[in-house]
Amino acid sequence: MNFSLFCSALVVPCRFSNTLATKLVERHRKSKLASHTREEAETKDTTVLTAPRDYKFVYPEFLPDPTWWKRDRIREKLEREDMMRRRSVIEIPEFYVGTVMAVESSDKYAPGKKNRFVGICIQRGGHGLRAGFTLRNVIDGQGVEVQYDLYNPTIIRLEVLKLEKRLDDELLYLRDAPQEYSTVPFDMEPVVLPPGIAVPINTMKVKLGPRPWHERWERQELKGVEDLGLPERFYKRAAEVAKPWQKHDLMRDYRLAINEDETEEIMTDVYGKMQGIETQQKLRRRQGPGPAK
């Protein structure tokens, strides 16, 4: 219901004048004059469990791309269905930036046609089937990063070795930190958290190496980094280019994110389906090693 409302709330520039307004497409999909549509009117089931409010942080890739001209209700729905199908086949666990993970994937060119990589997740992004993450580790004294698509069918197993969050949304500054911060042993034993506990937050502060760096870290508000120890002029310049007005810009936030009503709608849908999938997976785990292993 909210989607069409959202569409009505758009004033579109003229370079897209050869398009139909999203609102109009929605109206035609539900029109009674359309003779042979098989799309039934969606009845809202009130008995469905509503998702917890922070569920969108657990499975962020289910939220569609908020770019206004990429939105379409049916496409988003079909994409979510594909993701659910994949999730019912392979276990994709909950993870965050800062989590230590192991990924086993098919590789044509690797000996044994298989590859296993262990690393710390430094970045996570993408929407829908494009969702992905980056793992970082140090191998033979050389920093290595591997980008994975979350829904790539060549991934055989995704394993969380140590579930934790860090203070920042991205850990790209580990590239400029000493290697011990991003080194993870390949034979690391999984750390089991007691059930029902909240995901722990690692408050470790990283001491970056000397300049030159990949990015100007002093211009980003990083919480997980120790004092950078730069000369005064760097901070002065950082204060000059800072954009403090963006913090309270309500409309900017609104335009750059999926709004709360739609998030709730999508997450309720996802929550209901994920409950079923998780119970199936638990059953499969009890029965022994599944077909995916």
């Binding site: 370079r15 897209f16 398009t19 035609h28 079909l78 392979i90 995916a292």
Partner: protein, 391 residues
Amino acid sequence: MAAPMKSVACLIRGTCFLQNAILHDTRFMPRACTHLQITRGRRRTCRPPSWFVRTRTKSHHLNQQELTAENKGFLTEYVEDFYTKKFEETSPLKDGPWERHEWHSHTFRTGVLAVKIGVIPQWDNQGRKFHTTLLQVLDNHVIRYVPPPVFEQSPAFKSHWRNRNGPKYGSVVVGALSCDPQLFTKEYNNLFTEAGVPPKRKLTRFIVTPNAAVQPGTPLFATHFKVGDYVDVQAKTIGHGFQGVVKRWGFKGGPASHGTTKWHRRPGSMGGGREKSGVWKGKKMPGHMGMDWRTLRGLKIWRINTKYNVLYVHGPCIPGPNHCYVRIMDTTLFYRKQAMEDQPPYMPTFFPEDTGDSDLPEEIVDEKLFSFKEPSIRYEEEASTTKKAKR
């Protein structure tokens, strides 16, 4: 009772039966601007051709602000009832389908008019990633079939569509997105009486051979095509307005600094001297960019969703932004068309009755595409050529 009813019928345009009966002969029917104007370059005039039918009324026939809410509701109710019930009786499909012919490699079937709804990645069963564009076939109907001798008289007919036996092709007008007739002029609404469907928001025309003639009023679905078929796709690109040579043609422009004065995005010299002097025709210059018809040929259909009538077509770069109209038709590429003989398409289109009692599955997936229900892809160990092993 009859007098107010008649007044309603007159108020809602396009429901004047008497007039339709008189004008039923196609010679007197105004032709809609239904086809893609194939001209060299872009049509530069704003003046509509003589056979153009004005589609939209400048204002509603009834002053909508004047109507009460109940009466507005009544008008929509009347329109819905009119098209759902009355046209069931008058639909041309009632007389039974036309004769159906076999497909051969010289056949041109009709196409469909879809709406682009987005791009998503898919993987094939070798684990290779590629992008597919989702095209939704929304509420398509055949509006009119024009046989070759009549179509020959049309101003849009091309002389090379004729051979020594006469004209080779007829045309089929396809419409998408049913609308309330109050939006349109009476002339435009009259175009749809033959097909017995509500007036459509968009019309387009496809060239067909007589053996692929489709009866007016026939609905077209996404399953008009089969999974694994190759299609040509036509759409209007995103408009950029009047642009300079750097954006329009990718010229390099000039340097940003080092004493440059007013020479950052200019085209440079245009012509030489001597016998080559002057600016040649076709010189790349600033001008209007985009909002122009483009065709992509030979795109594979990977997957079809029959519930929402969605086609998954290969490639991320189908012209136009999201929610633009896209014309989809069988490919004209020679080898692709020859290959279609192994798997001939539905002639003249897909009829749901043909499947019998069994409904089509909701998802039809190409055998080379990875279906997300399958387990993960694994490569075989010893073979030099990799193969997928299902476990």
